[in-house]
């Protein structure tokens, strides 16, 4: 789909295992928000196990679920952080 506006979704840790991938390319969903992307992910294989409100970053900054997203954005789904 070279002409479809799309964005990149990065998956980490437990979430990467759910989807069997560390990176996905998604068509820009409707509505074009963080929540819209999460909804689109939830219907993919493995996506049903995602929490309803996962922590999401847009272009490496934490984002609220109603934040708009645009074609070309890099979204990251972040499991609970566990550094240290």
């Amino acid at each position: 789909m070279p002409d479809t506006p799309s964005l990149t979704v990065l998956l980490f840790a437990r979430y990467a295992e759910l989807f069997g991938a560390a990176e996905l390319r998604l068509a820009l969903p409707q509505p074009a928000t963080v929540a819209g992307v999460v909804e689109a992910l939830r219907i993919l294989p493995g996506g049903a196990a995602l929490p309803l409100n996962p922590l999401v970053a847009v272009n490496a900054r934490q984002a609220r679920s109603d934040q708009p997203v645009s074609a070309g954005d890099e979204l990251a789904l972040l499991p609970p952080m566990a550094g240290g």
Binding site: L10, F12, A13, R14, A57, A60, R61, A76, L78, P79, P80, M81, A82, G83, G84
Partner: protein, 135 residues
Amino acid sequence: MAFLTELPLQLDALVAEVAAPECGGIATFLGLVRNHQEGRAVERLEYSAYHPMAEGECATIVAEAMAQWPVRVAVRHRVGTLLIGDAAVAVAAASAHRAAAFEACRYLIEELKRRVPIWKKEFFLDGSVDWVEPR
């Protein structure tokens, strides 16, 4: 210097980085891989991170500490495979007086653990595997 590294952490190097003639105290914290987790024997941990966001969030936390206390600070987190006793995270805070050094050091490690996108997978001696999640 980058916050994330694949190399072993050197506490002495961190201390040298923050030391200065006007500093009377340096507080440090070293987080190590320990041999047990909720009663189960650990074999190793694998750390991964969302690198650009981790570097940015770390810089934000460092700036917050320097705004709250008159300190010089350094923080480093290792990624990759770590064995028992390996240092996963190292923090150093230097100040003219010790109270500020202690408080800033504690602030840095608490905020790093809470806010920086790093994950660890725990491999137990019995062969089981878990993603560590904060309680």
